[in-house]
Point group: C2
Chain length 455, copies 2
């Protein structure tokens, strides 16, 4: 019998990030400067981001970027992540399907976010910077960045959405333990924060506002840059280590997946998982069904429009062409905080638009039902975000049960739910509710989308 868990050796770990864009015939649309409606230049971006990361962001052609030894050494403290055969889940479902998952939650940040935090902190340090700033909502990205900054010896300023800062003090304390300075946003430490506080005294803040504060804190401080944990091309590039490891491990097992599934918020988890597989598909070498699982309450793929839009509600970021619900869309307070983003990675958006991947949307109660089945069978308590992928996997596995097909399903288990237990409590108590935006909600969200550039 095949092993439950497959670990690559350190010698087998990826030495290069794989840039999926290099294999896309039609490239993702460039970021635009909202003032000029012209593509953002490296120079413009370097005021906000580290130089090396700007290069990675703009490079649509280089297929492989070498992973510096320092980053690879750091990865060895939490990678390889295991590729797990979900024997027990298969048994519980009674399916002939073979289910594998790539588990990214076995590190203190609790998710895949650390893969990109490591790279971003390293390049900031290499550039001789003093520190980085970022925003965090639920706190996974902030935790990951704090850990990477502690390792590379970099100052880390995190603007945490005030309601989360107050309601999720534990995530905050993890960040502080790693030496990060955590500020509740909006704060009086930035001009934009002061302005918002004056206008809306007592506001609980929002991710959009926290982004604006983090960007201001970076550009007004000598030796600081801003970093972001999803959506960007560079982040998907770093996350390709997930897919590269999974691909090699499956190859060692002599297994080829038929279906690859991941949850999608900003797209970094699915984008990283599918990278080498989608590369084969783009080059016509193999075919895979690829499915993004998103929340019905924030359905960028399944109900959004493919348009140029701001990535943030504060409208300080460049315009990105993506599947978007509109920067005016207010996602409902579901528990998969990491999936509550109105837009989507430009790379995945372009692939979806070309029909190279599918998307499904689920309500949170059915997602938690799937999470519970999975936890009891496989032991791991999954993050609400990752549980969207579990739900899609269970659905596909049950279809196989009906048809008798022995399909191979690979899904990304991007993180653990140890900091999401208020959500599990609601589910256990039977008080969890679902939210589906009305067509009117969607129309409102799109009301602030800027005029589109001419084709």
């Amino acid at each position: 019998m095949e092993n439950y868990r497959t670990y690559l050796t350190e010698e087998e770990l990826p030495t290069h990030y794989y840039n999926l864009r290099a294999d896309m015939e039609k490239k993702p649309a460039p970021l635009l400067n909202p003032g000029t409606m012209q593509p953002m230049t490296a120079e413009e971006l370097e005021g906000v981001f580290c130089s090396e990361l700007v290069k990675q962001e703009l490079d649509n052609d280089t297929r492989f970027f070498e992973i510096p030894e320092e980053i690879r050494d750091y990865y060895k403290t939490f990678r390889p992540s295991p590729l797990v055969r979900a024997y027990n889940l298969e048994k519980v479902l009674g399916t002939p399907a073979k289910i594998y998952f790539k588990f990214e939650g076995n590190n203190t940040s609790g998710s895949h976010k650390l893969n990109s935090a490591a790279a971003q902190a390293y390049y900031a340090k290499k550039q001789g910077l003093k520190g980085v700033t970022t925003e965090t909502g639920a706190g996974q990205w902030g935790t990951a960045l704090s850990m990477a900054c502690a390792y590379f010896g970099l100052d880390c300023k995190v603007f945490m959405v005030k309601t989360s800062y107050e309601q999720k003090p534990f995530r905050r304390e993890v960040m502080r333990t790693y030496g990060a300075e955590v500020t509740a946003s909006p704060s009086d430490t930035t001009e934009v924060g002061k302005k918002i506080l004056a206008e809306f005294p007592g506001t609980g803040g929002s991710l959009g506002c926290a982004i604006s504060e983090a960007v201001e804190a970076a550009v007004t401080r000598e030796g600081y840059r801003y970093v972001l944990g999803s959506v960007l091309n560079q982040v998907l590039l770093h996350q390709s280590v997930i897919g590269l490891e999974a691909h090699k491990a499956l190859e060692k097992l002599g297994v080829t997946p038929d279906i690859i599934i991941g949850c999608t918020g900003g797209g970094s988890n699915l984008g990283g998982l599918i990278a080498p597989f989608m590369g084969e598909k783009l080059r016509g070498e193999k075919d895979y069904r690829i499915i993004g699982a998103e929340p019905a309450s924030c359905p960028s793929f399944t109900r959004g429009k493919y348009l140029y839009d701001f990535c943030d509600t504060g409208k300080v970021c460049p315009l990105a062409k993506m599947y978007t619900l509109g920067n005016g869309f207010m996602p409902s307070p579901i528990h998969a905080g990491g999936l509550r983003f109105h837009g989507m990675s430009t790379i995945l958006s372009e692939l979806y638009d070309q029909g190279l991947m599918e998307a499904v949307a689920y309500e949170q109660t059915e997602v938690f039902e799937a999470a519970e089945v999975f936890a009891r069978a496989e032991g791991i308590l999954p993050a609400p975000e990752s549980s969207h992928a579990i739900k899609a996997t269970i659905d596909e596995a049950l279809k196989c049960k009906e048809s008798g097909e022995e399909k191979v399903i690979l899904f990304g288990l991007s993180g653990t739910g140890y900091f999401d237990l208020l959500a599990y409590q609601q589910f256990n108590d039977g008080t969890m509710t679902d939210y589906i935006p009305t067509d009117e909600d969607l129309a409102k969200g799109l009301a602030f989308v800027p005029p589109q550039p001419e084709e």
Copy 2:
């Protein structure tokens, strides 16, 4: 360079538990029936514990117990645990010592407790029981047992100390997600609980009281038995998988440790880690320094007496000969809840009494300082309990720095601190306090130790 993480393959995993007692010339003292002062018989114990576990508890001679295939299959969902070379900690300390740790925290229960929970749930199921009962304080054991019961299809009733039930709702929700029934103790579901509630209305409960309720719930219900997560011989037997894996992994690396360190509460973590190494020491094949690290606030080894005492404050359990602070000792409210036990495993107590191992005691503030250094260097946020071992390791590594000796240190990282963030918050805020019992406190603790049997 040697790898950061060494994983055994599934083929290399232990097939047998190792019973350290078989190699002890002077055996640990038997449990006594407090009524008769005679050794507890299998028959007496089988009213409370599963039959197979009673056999394991009483058997001082069988060296190896085969691990049933069903348990080995379950272990494969979270084992092998990695043996990690702490390169980054070595670098931060500037020590010539080589530091390794065996990390048991990469499962949802967050600690090594799952190793014994798996075995105990399996044997209960095999005996045809409906379910098991237990108590839990901080919740690690209760979580582990819930997970194992969900896997083996067994009912699980957990009596959780009321203050923890209210203050640590997240652990409670993990247990509920795995299908356990969690009751705040004292409760009105047992006679002993009702009695305590009548006597002390509004009490927050205690571990002693929760044990009494769990035992009553087991013996008064058809098809139920009581299970316990530490202290007992059977638990150390199951935990030997930690040491067996570590021993084999070090052997593969061609490394022999000079010093082996673990934290000690009831003794299951250290007892499991050292098992095969202590076996070699007892058989005169190898020599190792073995160090138990305990809290200065609950110093069973360093300030306790080697006496027959009750394992519980409620005095419903048999008498065990152990290093004890007395069943009347009230441990201070430190954050390493898993180490707040007045007694100690009889096996470790006997080994300590024979001078085969040492012990050190630390105050919690210095333990959290060590935890922070470790977290920033190695990424993993350690449990407060495990951080006692980290502190001892850092101390030994710094001695090597002074002497220039390249000693090899192996320590047990028994768990993660994800559910201990109130403690980290106190540490980060600088409001953590230390507690050291006075000689008067210790005298009070010993006041209720029963009359000792004649030698």
